[in-house]
Subunit: 192 residues, 4 copies
């Protein structure tokens, strides 16, 4: 079959590159992330990066896929009260954004997604049907808190989209905002 030969790809280098990417992405943001910087930080030749990734977008997408960019996903609680649980989740998300660099992270991801289709798709994947949020929504449907035909993916999109938009637009993200957003999707007026 194929005449495979030659030295094998170095796992050490691969990992060093992705970690360096994550480190720089986290500290300086997507648009101060440079291939040269990653190479230097990882102690690697530039060509070793270009051999395996075609752009810094792909690099970020891969780091994202390895879970090096995002903090642990937030678990929405399941108290039986869907409205309360979603509000709690959203409040936690907003809490992340308010931590120093939290909104920068989201904006950097948006910039990366804008430039690179892979990043976009992978962000979506990690938020989509397989996410913690979607799981909670599904139990909501089973418990009759949501109508049976509801589109769970779109439900999630709507919440996450609102979060992203607020990060891009630098809208304030306080607790009341969390409640208002939940009210928009669950109907009714905000509690407070």
């Amino acid at each position: 079959m194929t005449g495979r030969s030659g030295r094998v790809r170095s796992e050490t280098a691969r990992v060093a590159i992705l970690q360096a990417t994550a480190r720089i992405f986290g500290s300086r943001g997507y648009d101060h992330l440079t291939i040269e910087g990653v190479a230097a930080e990882a102690g690697v030749g530039k060509q070793t990066i270009y051999r395996w990734w075609h752009s810094k977008g792909e690099l970020v997408a891969d780091a994202l896929l390895e879970g090096l960019l995002l903090p642990e996903p937030l678990l929405p609680p399941d108290t039986g009260d869907l409205r309360a649980d979603l509000t709690t989740w959203l409040r936690d998300v907003f809490g992340l954004l308010q931590r120093p660099g939290g909104d920068d992270l989201v904006r950097s991801l948006a910039a990366a997604a804008a430039e690179n289709a892979d990043v976009g798709r992978r962000i979506r994947d990690s938020l989509g049907a397989t996410s913690e949020l979607a799981a909670r929504l599904r139990t909501g449907v089973e418990a009759g808190q949501l109508p049976p035909g509801v589109a769970i993916e779109d439900f999630g999109d709507v919440l996450v989209g609102a979060v992203v938009l607020r990060a891009l637009a630098r809208t304030e993200t306080d607790e009341a905002a969390a409640e208002r957003l939940v009210s928009v999707v669950l109907g009714g007026a905000p509690q407070r």
Copy 2:
């Protein structure tokens, strides 16, 4: 009194710069937009740009403000049936995205917003309380199609955020998706 004197700012140059910005932004996207490119395209010295704008973000923000970047805003119809009207509006928006370069435009705006706070805020402004969508929602409240306490701004955010997220994630945007999204915010199952 004050030593006011000297040549006055050239309106010709200002307009040429913003139009060049819009032209390049539209055809090559935000990250191929360069100050040098704009200067050349506008037949202007670079310094003339730097004197009045501090970054390409501001440039884009200004072009946006002048309405040079976006097509005419979409008017949601007012047939009395809010669900149908919102679905129509969303379908029209998706139509824009499906035109060649339509989703690139949204992604470019996201990239610009990620990099520059002004762009973010201005995008939000043009979509916010003063937008056509907000107006239609307000008539919905008056007509009793929406509960009186609903947060109109957040309602809009949620829809627009979903659109932006779909553009970033390259999610398909067909008619059924429009209906599903409307159902998420208005409750109930999609019609079809």
Copy 3:
């Protein structure tokens, strides 16, 4: 006793490498000659080159030694008239230089010699005491056309040096120049 064993050096590879070297040297010159290029052209791994040669200078020196770089050496005639014979020889040499790539070849050799001592020495060897020119000069001494104590090697150096210098300086090399050069070393004025 000694652990002699293992695969023996491949003559095929050796020859392919030297021929590839000669081919590239001839067509692209010394400074576009790269080890990677030679390896590719010869269908050989780079390591196989580095195992047997330490630099591209040595490579060229070896190709030179195998006679792969230079055309057949020019024979000075022996008509009994030394001045005429030397002029003929020099005219032939100039003829080589005027062929397309002829002066490039000499300049490439100079560049190689400048960088690598071996090349320099080998060029000298092939032009020195063992050369055709030296042989003709020796018969000139025997025939009394040159004084008995004359330094034959230096005599050759002087002529070859003038040729190299003209190639480096891009001086024109016409027939009259050949006669003038011969006059310089043999004394008297040029014939024409």
Copy 4:
């Protein structure tokens, strides 16, 4: 006439670049001379070099033209004895070659000349009809020590060519060699 405008070329930068070139050329030789190195040494952007010179060859040619590369030209004495004077001159030249880096300098110039036509021509110019050597030869013709029709330029070429060839070939350059070379061009046997 032409609409000249824009900032004027910086003489400071020009001089710094040529001096850095000379410094590096002298200490590390032509093939360790890099544009990046010159830029760094001169405290200048690379583009400033590329704007005015097309290759490192041109750079060296210019530095040569400014007299930054070569030591003061050697004056042949004029004692009335042409043979003695030429021998003295050649001995001095060989003395330069024997100083540390002296032959490297000549070889570097040869390499530069091989790569760049300008360098070649300028070396020739500075050694040619206008040189000190040519002047001494001319007085030799006037004094009847050389035949009237002798080609002075070629006479010089022959001597200089021999020197260059010896540098390239790493031939030893002792005093006896100087005498032998002079004998070749002046006829007769070396004195000693």
